[in-house]
């Protein structure tokens, strides 16, 4: 989902949002805060950030699955909207900065936000974060089963995201996005408001990131500011570059490929396979992220699957007609 969101901004519209992880974080924060507060008010908890409160909340969710689900849905929806709004705000700097400075600005903005949340304790427990953000499926005793079901749900959300993004991108609006990316002066001269397009795109893509953040926080049932650092953004960007900026299938491939790589290079997975290494494997993962980015830039900047044409409904109709014409027998 994050990769698709980045592709939307950067691949199609040319906005390098290096602060992506912060929007992911906002989604997580909104969900965490809303969930915790709702549980806390129902349970009458004052010290919401303590471990006892966390346990109480989790227990409550096990006994009250309906409530848990309601809170979950509410949090998800609000995460989407609020993060989207933040994204819209982020479009203002995008108005005039050159692309590499825009990248730095958004990176800085995101990291500043993270440090602020990390320091300001009352929000999500500062450096220590907060646990006890109960997953609505907690009532299912079998951990493996509930995790599995939740994963299916996330997959479902990701698929919806993909479909929505594909529809968005293969439409006249998609063409406008690319126009803003490639030649905004021309686009402006044709009457397209660049600022508005950027604002809309950032709203949508940030909303997606917010949803991802919400889903993530319910998955880990906690929120820790130090999970949302800039290397995460770089990781997502390398997925987009690897798969091919400007086309969604490629980006999904990139995400899947790198995620699998990450999974298979965890110490736990390797030990299952009987391989134990003396060095810290997470170093290799980041080093490889960097290496992958360099290799892509060198050898295949378009990514595994290059960008295609905007396939608007009209385009499809025209293509159909052409095919029909070709297969018709020649008369006369």
């Amino acid at each position: 989902m994050l990769a698709l969101s980045t592709n939307l901004e950067y691949g199609y519209t040319g906005i390098p949002n290096f602060g992506k992880v912060f929007f992911f974080f906002i989604g997580a924060i909104v969900s965490a805060v809303i969930t915790a507060n709702m549980y806390n008010s129902v349970l009458g908890i004052e010290e919401g950030l303590s471990a006892i409160a966390a346990t109480k909340r989790t227990e409550y969710s096990i006994q009250n699955p309906v409530f848990a689900t309601e809170v979950f849905i509410l949090s998800l929806v609000l995460s989407v909207i609020i993060t989207g709004l933040f994204g819209y705000l982020a479009s203002y700097p995008a108005l005039a900065l050159r692309e590499d400075f825009l990248a730095i600005t958004l990176l800085v903005f995101g990291e500043a936000g993270r440090i602020f949340v990390r320091t300001y304790e009352p929000l999500v427990g500062g450096v220590f974060g907060m646990s006890g953000i109960p997953n609505p499926l907690n009532f299912i005793q079998d951990r493996a089963l509930s995790s599995f079901i939740y994963s299916i749900f996330v997959l479902f959300m990701a698929s919806i995201t993909f479909i929505l993004v594909e529809r968005l991108v293969n439409s006249p609006f998609g063409r406008v996005m690319k126009a803003v990316r490639d030649d905004d002066l021309a686009a402006a001269s044709l009457g397209k408001s660049i600022a508005k397009v950027r604002g809309q795109v950032l709203f949508i893509s940030s909303a997606i990131a917010g949803a991802a953040g919400s889903l993530f926080t319910f998955y880990t049932q906690s929120i820790f500011p130090d999970d949302f650092i800039p290397p995460v953004t770089f990781y997502i960007i390398s997925m987009v570059l690897l798969g091919g900026a400007g086309n969604n299938i490629g980006v999904v491939l990139g995400a899947v490929f790198l995620s699998l790589f990450e999974r298979f290079t965890q110490t736990s997975t390797l030990s299952i396979l009987g391989i134990t290494l003396s060095l810290d494997i997470s170093y290799i993962r980041y080093a490889v992220t960097g290496l992958v980015m360099i290799l892509i830039l060198f050898f295949r900047p378009q990514g595994i699957i290059p960008e295609g044409i905007v396939k608007t409904p009209l385009y499809k109709i025209i293509m159909e007609r052409e095919k029909e014409l070709k297969t018709q027998p020649k008369t006369g």
């Binding site: 005039a96 600005t105 440090i115 290799i284 992958v292 060198f298």
Partner: protein
């Protein structure tokens, strides 16, 4: 009571002076390489880290601190040239955009940092203290002015003068300035573009290496040291407008002072938590970029 405040102020001023001079070195490295090659070199953080490690390891072997600094800076200078030859230059020749080069520099930063971390982990030097001992020279209102202060400030002064002479009194410097303002015209005018580029990167690396080495003397270091400092280096450069030597140094001092003195002030009189320190740098960058020069704007 007032005496106590003065004591704290002096302590902060001394702290700021030291840190600012180090940031200045790093910022000069960044500004120089950016002006001539148009690459926002995120990897400078790793040049600083490696410079720190080189100097620290060297002093631990018994080599005196001054020679160690020289070793560190020269090695990093060579590293910077190698990185350019291997990564930046080929991409530049392929016609990469500034953004793509920025991504490349980030990727390089990641690679260097984590490859080095693997090695450092293997050798058990993830955390390291150098063999340099900070010795106070004189005490100003109970706070020590140390040999490190003298060392770093004098290095800054010498380097600044050297850079000034290089850029404005030599032909090489003139070529560098030409390349900075108009690469195409410089190439046509017969300036050996690639040689000047190499020289630029070498100097940039030397500066970063010096910053790293001095930082290693200042405090104990770890593999993420450079990354932590990157923010301040960038902030210093950006506030200085990524323009000239004096402006960059001024930017570094503004950052260094606001980081120390500023936060102390906010903490003492407004109760602001010191953990908010980085926010100052972020706000500074943000404000500078948005409100500042039109150079950052446009396509």
């Amino acid at each position: 009571m007032v005496y106590l405040v003065i004591e704290e102020i002096v302590k902060n001023i001394l702290q700021s002076l030291l840190v600012s001079s180090l940031y200045a070195l790093g910022a000069l490295s960044l500004t120089l390489s950016y002006r001539v090659t148009k690459i926002a070199n995120f990897a400078v953080s790793e040049y600083v880290t490696l410079g720190a490690y080189t100097a620290a390891l060297s002093t631990l072997r018994g080599i005196d601190p001054y020679t160690s600094l020289i070793i560190a800076s020269v090695l990093i200078g060579l590293l910077a040239v190698m990185i350019d030859e291997a990564i930046y230059k080929p991409l530049y020749k392929k016609g990469s955009t500034p953004l793509q080069l920025l991504i490349a520099s980030i990727a390089t930063m990641l690679m260097i940092r984590y490859l080095w971390s693997i090695y450092a982990d293997y050798r058990g030097i993830l955390f390291l203290s150098s063999g340099y001992s900070i010795a106070p020279i004189i005490y100003l209102v109970n706070s020590p002015l140390t040999n490190l202060h003298i060392l770093s400030l004098s290095i800054l002064v010498i380097i600044s003068l050297a850079l000034y002479i290089l850029l404005f009194k030599t032909r090489i410097g003139k070529a560098m300035r030409a390349l900075a303002s108009n690469p195409e015209l410089a190439a046509i005018s017969g300036i050996p573009v690639w040689r000047i580029r190499r020289i630029t990167w070498f100097i940039s690396g030397v500066l970063a290496g010096l910053m790293g080495g001095l930082w290693a003397y200042y405090t104990s270091i770890h593999t993420e040291s450079g990354w932590r400092l990157l923010l301040w280096i960038f902030a210093s450069s950006i506030i200085g407008g990524i323009k000239s030597i004096p402006l960059t140094i001024a930017g570094a001092f503004i950052i260094g002072f606001s980081e120390n003195l500023g936060i102390w002030f906010a903490n003492r009189f407004f109760g602001v938590d010191t953990a908010y320190k980085p926010i100052i740098a972020y706000i500074a960058i943000f404000v500078s970029l948005i409100v500042g020069r039109s150079k950052y704007w446009g396509r």
